[in-house]
């Protein structure tokens, strides 16, 4: 796509692209490290993640400024225009992913060694899935590959399903031993954050689809997160 008569226009667009891919890399690292910090209860690593979030925030502002300047200077049309709009939206998704990763890291401190590590097994799997989704969608972005993006979009339900089962599992632990409620709630929030990160990856996938095809994806995404509609069953009543 780099063949404008005006070379400086190409430079603007590729600069924006490079910033976005750098930002994607930063979000990926933050997510990986926050999951690792949580799994290993590594407070030092968690602090690093929390401190580094502002770098992603700064990058989002830089992307925004570049995008606005390019619109003002070049009056982009067609795919160039979509490229810029999509860069803005993806930057905002990546910034949110950074925030959520930071929040996961924060909970490392709150959980401490309060609960056996085996509880975190499902969470570990969830972290892997959300890392994989983010990686794949960033690859699709680098290649402008709408088919790859759609693969990511369809697989979000795997994360949803896992979140669903972690939700039930944690609920069970809490009902068995009320002393676990505090730690389990933090794990539940961490799981929810990972699930939200998956949603942002699908947002990015939808934007890649729009970039390539010029129209918004209209289909309803398959969803398996049913936790918000799962009725709460008080202890002692499960048998009924």
């Amino acid at each position: 796509m780099s063949d404008h008569i005006l070379k400086a226009y190409d430079d603007d667009l590729s600069a924006l692209r490079n910033m976005l891919s750098e930002m994607g890399g930063m979000a990926e690292v933050q997510l990986n490290r926050s999951a690792e910090a949580l799994m290993r209860r590594d407070g030092k690593l968690a602090d690093e993640v929390i401190a580094d979030d502002e770098k992603i925030d700064a990058m989002e502002i830089a992307v925004e400024e570049k995008a606005i300047l390019t619109i003002a200077k070049r009056q982009p049309l067609g795919r160039d225009l979509r490229n810029i709009m999509v860069a803005l939206r993806i930057a905002s998704d990546l910034e949110r992913i950074g925030d959520l990763a930071k929040n996961v890291a924060k909970r490392t401190h709150a959980i401490g060694d309060a609960i056996p590590r085996r509880l975190a097994g499902g969470l570990d799997r969830m972290a892997q899935l959300s890392q994989m989704q983010l990686k794949l969608v960033l690859d699709a972005l680098a290649l402008n590959d709408s088919d790859k993006a759609m693969d990511v979009w369809r697989h979000d339900e795997d994360i949803d399903a896992l979140y669903n089962s972690i939700f039930r599992e944690l609920l069970t632990y809490m009902m068995e031993d009320p002393r676990m409620i505090g730690a389990c709630t933090h794990l539940l929030f961490a799981a929810k954050n990972l699930e939200r990160i998956g949603d942002h990856s699908t947002n990015i996938a939808e934007n890649i689809y729009y970039l390539v095809h010029g129209k918004a994806l209209r289909e309803e995404r398959p969803k398996k997160d049913k936790t918000s509609t799962t009725p709460f069953t008080p202890i002692g009543k499960e048998a009924e």
């Binding site: 404008h4 008569i5 005006l6 070049r74 009056q75 049309l77 067609g78 795919r79 129209k215």
Partner: protein
């Protein structure tokens, strides 16, 4: 592309504005030759009434040539030949029995450079209605001139000096005077050939505002080199390249999701 080199892409098919508004001009398989040169190749298009249609494309692509064949201005060029059919309200404008002078009263034209007659502002506008016998008497003629200047958004600026020479106005005012002159004979279609290319941005904005107002009453066709202008004022956009009408569609679509690669390359500034 090779099996149907002259096929025009419709974005969408048919464009929404064409489906929505009554049809004004229909061209079917139109070819224009300047001697040996094949300037327009197998062009077919439907132009809606009460809307602005913009022709865009690089220099020499045939957009002005086609515009001029809509009111038979090409007749005066030696060696120019037009084949195919162009109808306005279903009537063939190349029919032998048609009076070209009448046709040009129905289809007005505004040119790139403002070209007022070397007469007063009043006379510039009164000339057309007078020779076409549209005014009953002097009062009626004054009414037509006033209304035309008002519709061209020029009245307030010239009402106190109607008998001053038209050539004494600024470029933007002269162009609005030419538009007043074109609409004074109550045409159905107004053709504009790069009407703003000699004007500054403020005068351009005034003309664009005027074009949007005028589409309530007229079918407007504008040739422009400014993509932004086409995007701002038109409902339908037609992209010409090397004498071929490449793509026609709703302006909103053409400037965001053009279908043909040539259209995309042109509007995004990639044409080498």
């Amino acid at each position: 592309m090779n099996d149907m080199p002259y096929k025009t892409v419709l974005t969408p098919e048919p464009p929404k504005i064409v489906a929505l508004n009554p049809t004004k001009i229909v061209a079917q398989d139109v070819n224009v030759f300047y001697g040996e040169k094949h300037a327009i190749k197998h062009l077919s298009i439907t132009i809606p009434d009460k809307a602005v249609s913009a022709f865009i494309g690089p220099s020499g692509c045939g957009k002005s040539t086609f515009l001029r064949s809509i009111n038979r201005m090409n007749d005066t060029i030696a060696g120019c030949r037009v084949t195919g059919k162009i109808t306005v309200d279903g009537e063939d404008i190349y029919d032998k029995s048609l009076d070209v002078v009448d046709l040009r009263a129905r289809i007005g034209m505004v040119f790139q450079k403002p070209n007022p007659f070397p007469k007063s502002i009043f006379e510039n506008v009164a000339y057309g209605p007078r020779i076409h016998g549209l005014a009953k008497d002097k009062t009626d003629l004054e009414r037509i001139v006033t209304e035309s200047l008002q519709r061209a958004s020029l009245w307030d600026e010239v009402k106190d000096r109607l008998h001053a020479p038209g050539t004494g106005l600024s470029g933007g005012q002269q162009q609005r005077l030419c538009i007043a002159r074109a609409i004074s004979v109550n045409p159905e279609v107004v053709l504009m050939d790069e009407p703003c290319s000699a004007l500054d941005p403020i005068a351009t904005a005034r003309i664009e505002e005027l074009i949007i107002e005028l589409k309530e009453k007229f079918c407007i066709v504008i040739v422009t080199h400014s993509m932004q202008q086409a995007a701002r004022v038109s409902d339908l956009t037609a992209f010409f390249h090397l004498g071929i009408l490449v793509e026609v569609g709703d302006t909103d679509e053409i400037f965001t999701v053009p279908q043909d690669k040539r259209t995309h390359d042109y509007i995004t500034g990639r044409f080498g």
